[in-house]
């Protein structure tokens, strides 16, 4: 029996069992399923948020960018720190509101603040459309990692199929609690793998990180400062991109929703303080990409750099361990994404938009059924429309970041109106799509989503000042 395969499937199965076990003894109602009954302490909140943030993108994308683009990959190190700083000021207020009015999702929040079913449904639909590519990214990444780590013994399709059926099962039974607990396995494995490879690979080939950089500086210094090997990603692009992604980070419906799981506002603040430590593994992942740039030049797809160098430098069982870590690293975020996409679709599109008289039990049952539907849809996307990993993520970010003015002004500015938010959101989304899909990203050197966000914010403020506060249209 192949050791790598054993490790990969063992991990997937143990994770599933932990996920299923997490929900036993909890009487499952909608509040327990989506926000863990608002009882998570600092450990679970930290695990949950780390579970959402550390995706397959950490393994493949960050090292892939270091490999093929160079310095622009630094943006990944920066935006997390900005996002956690913002969360310190924004999330406690959001949590209080959630506690007082029993909010569970992002559209719930828009409904409460602006009293508009139209806006709430709009937010839910944009949220779902942004989640789907992100979910697909996890599936594609998982298939890719397992196939490579098993040396082709397990096809990508088979890996995706099995692990997502199992993910589906623990989301169905345990809800958000399952994701938080599986996150323990994921974090331990991911940090171990990244720690060993990130420190080991530069040492094996160059004798250490410092010497690796010395070689790289001697050979191609331009790779290590902006814009690296991507002329369109100069300093201005990096600045606008970290602002967009930093502001957009907590606007992802699932990350936004996880704030409601906390036990108190204080927990959220303390969590914001310790979150930046999670950037260390990303740094190590970048080191792997830079080392691969020197050791394995000429890879067609930069996203393969991480696995290619592990394959070259380590025995196959360790490659299996990395593959297993990669698989759970896809399963955890995927479980949270599926859960929130289902909750948004049923609670905020169906119930709010079409059937306000639906009872809680019915919403809960339908949400669970929807888990299966959404997993299938994402599976179809992953198998038939695979795309470059990072680009997908950036399009999603452009979309959800447009919620920022509506959320922050809604929390802190009495004068803001729903009409203003609808106008801003519509303009922001349209402009971002136009620029990105029309090939105008970056626009004048700036991240297109950022340009759209500025237009959005100006519109929200201007229209709010011209209309009656609170109400919509």
């Amino acid at each position: 029996m192949n050791a790598a395969l054993l490790i990969i499937f063992g991990t997937i199965i143990v994770s599933t069992l932990v996920g299923l076990y997490a929900g036993r003894r909890v009487k499952m109602n909608l509040e327990n399923w989506t926000v863990g009954g608002r009882r998570f302490g600092i450990m679970l909140i930290w695990l949950l948020m780390a579970g959402e943030i550390y995706t397959t993108f950490t393994f493949l994308g960050a090292s892939g960018w270091a490999y093929s683009k160079g310095a622009p990959t630094y943006y990944i190190l920066i935006y997390g720190a900005l996002a956690y700083t913002l969360s310190f000021f924004i999330l406690p207020e959001l949590w209080r509101l959630g506690k007082r009015y029993g909010l569970q999702t992002q559209p719930d929040f828009f409904m409460k603040i602006y009293g508009s079913r139209f806006l709430s449904v709009l937010v839910a639909i944009i949220g779902i459309l942004s989640i789907l590519p992100y979910l697909q990214l996890q599936l594609t990444g998982l298939g890719f990692i397992v196939e490579a780590a098993s040396n082709g013994a397990v096809s990508s399709r088979l890996a995706i199929g099995i692990s997502f059926l199992l993910t589906c099962a623990f989301v169905y039974t345990s809800g958000i609690r399952g994701s938080a607990w599986v996150s323990v396995i994921k974090d331990v494995m991911m940090i171990t793998a990244v720690g060993i490879v990130g420190i080991g690979v530069p040492r094996i080939y160059f004798g250490g990180i410092g010497k690796m950089f010395k070689t790289l500086i001697g050979l191609k210094p331009g790779h290590l400062i902006f814009p690296g090997a991507a002329p369109q990603m100069d300093v201005l692009w990096v600045m606008s991109t970290v602002l967009l992604t930093g502001l957009g980070f907590y606007m992802w419906p699932h990350v936004f929703g996880s704030a409601f799981s906390a036990k108190s506002a204080k927990i959220i603040k303390r969590n914001a303080i310790i979150m930046p430590f999670y950037q260390i593994p990303i740094l190590l992942v970048c080191m792997v990409g830079f080392t691969a740039f020197l050791v394995l030049p000429g890879l067609k797809n930069g996203d393969t750099a991480f696995l290619a160098i592990v394959q070259k430098a380590y025995p196959s069982w360790f490659l299996g361990f990395v593959g297993a870590a990669g698989a759970v690293t896809a399963m955890v975020p995927a479980s949270i994404l599926v859960l929130f996409a289902s909750a948004l679709l049923v609670k905020n599109v169906y119930q709010t938009g079409f059937n306000p008289s639906a009872g809680e039990g019915q919403v809960m049952r339908l949400s669970r059924a929807m888990v299966l539907v959404i997993t299938t849809a994402a599976l179809a996307l992953a198998l038939f429309f695979p795309n470059a990993l990072v680009n997908l993520l950036l399009i999603g970010y452009d979309g959800v970041a447009q919620f920022f003015p509506g959320v922050v002004l809604g929390l802190f500015w009495k004068r803001v109106s729903g009409t203003g938010v609808v106008c801003g959101l519509a303009a922001g989304i349209s402009l971002a799509s136009f620029l990105v899909f029309g090939g105008h990203d970056p626009f004048l050197g700036l991240n297109a989503g950022f340009v759209a966000l500025v237009v959005n914010a100006v519109l929200v403020i201007a229209v709010s000042l011209l209309s009656r506060p609170g109400k919509t249209l």
């Binding site: 310095a71 630094y74 190190l77 920066i78 997390g80 720190a81 900005l82 956690y84 700083t85 913002l86 310190f88 000021f89 209080r96 506690k99 250490g208 990180i209 410092g210 010497k211 950089f213 010395k214 500086i217 210094p221 290590l224 400062i225 902006f226 300093v235 990096v238 600045m239 970290v242 602002l243 036990k263 108190s264 506002a265 204080k266 603040k269 303390r270 914001a272 303080i273 310790i274 930046p276 430590f277 950037q279 740094l283």
Partner: protein, 73 residues
């Protein structure tokens, strides 16, 4: 805005100043510090200091804002 929040926001502004607006000034290789190109060293330094500034923000909010600001679980 309460005094504690105002002061805390000053600390919160630090990562934005150093990690966004200072970037054009630090985009160079030299001096190499601890083996890292300068721009990467700069980014790591301020990312690593972010928890410290948030901790200070937390302390100062606690000191100046009335205690009822922190609700019970």
């Amino acid at each position: 805005m309460r005094k504690g929040t105002r002061l805390a926001l000053l600390f919160g502004a630090v990562p934005f100043l150093t990690l966004v607006f200072a970037l054009p000034l630090v985009n160079r290789i030299k001096p190499v510090i601890f083996g890292f190109p300068f721009v990467l060293f700069w980014i790591l330094l301020w990312v690593a200091l972010t928890p410290l500034f948030l901790f200070l923000a937390y302390k100062i909010e606690k000191k100046f804002n009335p205690p009822d600001d922190e609700e019970k679980p």
